[in-house]
């Protein structure tokens, strides 16, 4: 099979955070020190080779960047200071833009104006919709229940509590369906590029089913990630934010009528505890990563792309406004609850609409599926007995 060389390919990568690709002299140290690399999936060096040689097509069918969780060992020990870990990170940004068939991802990654404008448009849309259709009841001061909490669903004049929840729920579902559609279509695109276009392997049909359970297992436990770093703290933190966010997402989208209720339960009620856990999980990791990125004390947080910061800021603001809504509600501050609620949504919606399908957050889908696709390929290799069993010279 012929391979096309694209000499200008490197220049496409600059905006994604790769500004130096010639440092590497191919000693293989990074691959050897990586705890996740294995026969058939050798990275990061081979990826760097592809960049240097302009092998765009080869990189597109490569899942390796997604198998890397960026522990930073490779960059720490690289004899050329070529920073292979950050190159992998930048490749993930690039691949995100490749999988996205709409082309918006590339725009958001390469242009701050595009990304900020998109966020502002969504935020304004939410504010305008509320201002026109769901304004605050002028007599809102009385809308507190017997325990002194704000009746959050009854703040709009002429809209019953039941109707209000329904409206928000429909909004949520609309958002969820759009995001799901984009993500699924992007994953199919990824599948096409990574598996179908890779003529070097023929996947045995049964593998699609046998490997499926590992997809779910890895999504829930992040088992691969735990193998990555000697610093388990980071893995725990990531598990906290992942579970916290997943729970919050389920609560907000799927079970909204059960959770967004007028009554304020006791603090030890399971519903509230679940919410507190999620908030803690998200906040804990967010604070850790923010401090780390400011201090640049670890190799993986030393280089921050603008989109990394935007993600942290958006998620941070969403969490803080969410906490504020909760505090205002308990203390019966009606107007404050209402306006903070709108701000909360005005940050949350653009964050999900932009970050999840088009930007950093898309890794929640690409990573587990990359592992799935890698496992498919591995099954194919095993079937063809293509790989050699180490030790090679035994």
């Amino acid at each position: 099979m012929s391979t096309r060389i694209n000499p200008d390919f490197k220049k496409d990568l600059i905006e994604f955070g790769i500004d130096e690709w010639n440092e590497c002299f191919h000693c293989g140290n990074c691959t050897a020190i990586c705890p996740l690399t294995e026969n058939g999936f050798l990275f990061p060096r081979k990826g760097i080779r592809s960049i240097q040689m302009g092998l765009k097509d080869k990189l597109l069918r490569n899942v390796d960047p997604w198998l890397c969780y960026y522990c930073g060992d490779c960059s720490d020990t690289c004899p050329r200071d070529a920073n292979p870990g950050e190159l992998m990170m930048a490749l993930r940004r690039y691949l995100t833009s490749v999988y996205d068939w709409t082309g918006l991802s590339k725009k958001f990654y390469t242009s701050k104006i595009w990304e900020l404008s998109a966020i502002i448009i969504f935020a304004l849309l939410i504010i305008v919709l509320f201002a026109i259709f769901l304004p605050l009841n002028p007599n809102a001061a009385q809308l507190v229940n017997e325990s002194g909490g704000v009746m959050i669903n009854s703040l709009v004049d002429g809209v019953s509590a039941e109707q209000f929840v329904r409206i928000i729920e429909y909004g949520d579902w609309t958002m969820a369906i759009i995001v799901a559609f984009l993500l699924i279509s992007n994953i199919l695109n990824m599948f096409y590029k990574v598996v179908l276009k890779d003529n070097s392997v023929s996947i045995p049909f049964y593998a699609y089913f046998t490997e499926a359970w590992r997809l779910i297992y890895n999504f829930v436990t992040q088992a691969k990630f735990s193998k990555c770093d000697s610093n388990k703290f980071y893995w725990v933190g990531h598990l906290l934010i992942m579970t916290g966010y997943s729970i919050m997402f389920a609560v907000v989208v799927v079970f909204l009528p059960e959770f967004q209720i007028e009554e304020i339960k006791d603090w030890y009620h399971w519903q509230r505890l679940l919410g507190y856990y999620s908030t803690f999980g998200i906040l804990f990791f967010l604070v850790y990563v923010t401090i780390s990125r400011i201090r640049k004390n670890e190799i993986k947080t030393k280089y921050s792309h603008p989109t990394d910061w935007l993600f942290i800021v958006m998620l941070g603001l969403t969490t803080i406004t969410g906490i504020l809504v909760h505090i205002f509600r308990i203390n019966g501050m009606v107007a404050a609850t209402y306006y903070t609620y709108i701000i909360h949504l005005a940050i949350l919606v653009p964050m999900i609409m932009i970050e999840v399908p088009f930007s950093k957050w898309s890794h929640l889908a690409y990573r587990p599926f990359a592992i799935y696709f890698a496992n498919l390929k591995r099954a194919a290799y095993a079937k063809e007995a293509k790989t050699n069993v180490s030790p090679a010279y035994a």
């Binding site: 294995e38 026969n39 060096r45 180490s390 090679a392 010279y393």
Partner: protein
Amino acid sequence: MKNIKSIGIYFHNPKNTNGSALNYSEIEAYAKSLPVVKAVWNSDSFLVAKLDDIGTAIKEHGIEKIIIAGDTPGMIKPLFCEVMSLLGYNKEPVVLASFRKYGAITELDTERAKAILYCAVKGIPFEYAAIPGEKQAKPETLVIGGGIAGIQASLEIADAGKKVFLVEKTGTIGGHMAMFDKTFPTLDCAACILTPKMVDVGQHSNIELLTYSEIKGVSGEPGNYKVNIIKKARRVNLSTCIGCGSCSAKCPGKAPSEFDGGTTMRKAIYIPFPQAVPNKYLIDADSCTYIQSDGEKCGVCVKFCPVNDCINLDAKDEEVEITVGNIIVATGFKTFDAKRAEQYGYGKYPQVITSLELERLINAAGPTEGKITFRTQDKKGNPIFTTESGSPRSVALIHCVGSRDENYNKYCSKVCCMYSLKLAHLVKEKLPDADVYEYYIDMRAFGKGYEEFYQRIKNEGINVIRGRTAKVEQQNGQLLLRSEDMLNDRLIEQPVDMVVLAVGIEPGEDAGDLSNMLGIVRDEDGWFSEANYVSDPVNTYTGGITIAGVCQGPKDIPDTVAQASAAAARVIQSIIKGKVKGSIKDISLENIESKNK
């Protein structure tokens, strides 16, 4: 060449100058005073990484020629070349004014830095502009360092009938080469080449050998250097010692043998190795019981010495002063401390050894009589190798330990590839059933017969693997090496019994002091700088001082010998003429300016 009317000077990195203490504000002021210089920039003017800004600055002043001045300005030349080509010029008008290259480093060299800049502005190579005058030279020569370079240079000059003082820091001449078993690529016995030369040095009537001595200070001027030398107390009379060994046999003090690379122990009173020149005993104060107890204990060597007054345990260091016309610096190197590369576990796992240790093991006169055995411990717990400690069934050699690595030394040590191939061959020869693995980054077989040697080794059943080993770990009593086997596109985890680290080479610890004493320059890596890398590889910018061997930069034995002979040729030339070139630092700025107007 057309007459250039406007020049722009960029001062590269004046704030972070790698130990350079030049007065940059003074140099910049001087640059502005030159008539053709239309613009002077530094890192405050624009960011060099932004090509647009450079382009704007060039167009603004209509610059025709750019000079990049600084300690090591070559690093950013490509950026300016790119800008010039983008602006439609060719690259020739980008010129370097490298201060370090011409030895301008300390604050006192600011005048010279100006002269370098002046020459760059005028378009004259500095080395042609700044030719120092000649001075009367004394016929004696000092050679510093008694390794193969120092030996070769001394013999060349002495054979020409001229007086040589050879100063060696340790108790014997021979240096590192004496420790090696074989030389590559011919697999000749190193000692068979070296020891006759050593004996020649010891017996030569024109060579005054000062072993166990160090340079304390140098004064005077080219052609007439006064050198103060400390003769450290050897405590054994060189003229009366008969080398019988009675003292050593009874001596209770022990220390790791320097000559054997720490693979075995030697006594406090010892001969470094059997073929040492001078072949006389010496006492190491740090391990001597008598000296460490301030004369209260021991003294047994004196009792057993059959010669009267041969051993004087209370002897003190002496200082001598000699006057010489020329000095050859041949101080060699030290090997990279493998403990610094923690990932390879040297010092942690006993079966990780350095190439120098293996060299001694393989040597038939070494501690194991040529057997490759495991490291074990003596009764007092000192790590040693003995003939009984068992042999490895698999040995791995790791190249580039401490070389070609931004974390340690970024340069290539040049000899490690070849000596590793040689060692691999010798291991296979000693242990035919053992598996031998070599992990390399790039195989640098650069000399005559070297590539053929590499091909020969590959056909001897040695597994040569392209891929650096990232780390060495212990597993089931063996050492596990993980690396990418690049040429076979696979990852390998190889358990072996013994790991040999091909340590790189570094400038000696006292190279800095010596360069200050002699007024010669060192490059960023610490090697002594030659006047011109291509055309004048033995002279320095200081008159009457030449350099030879690895102290100038990593090189193998043939190159070292060649360079030592070249340095000797320069010295003989000077002795015959009775004159020596002066130092560039003695030429004033006005002198250069007026000469090149």
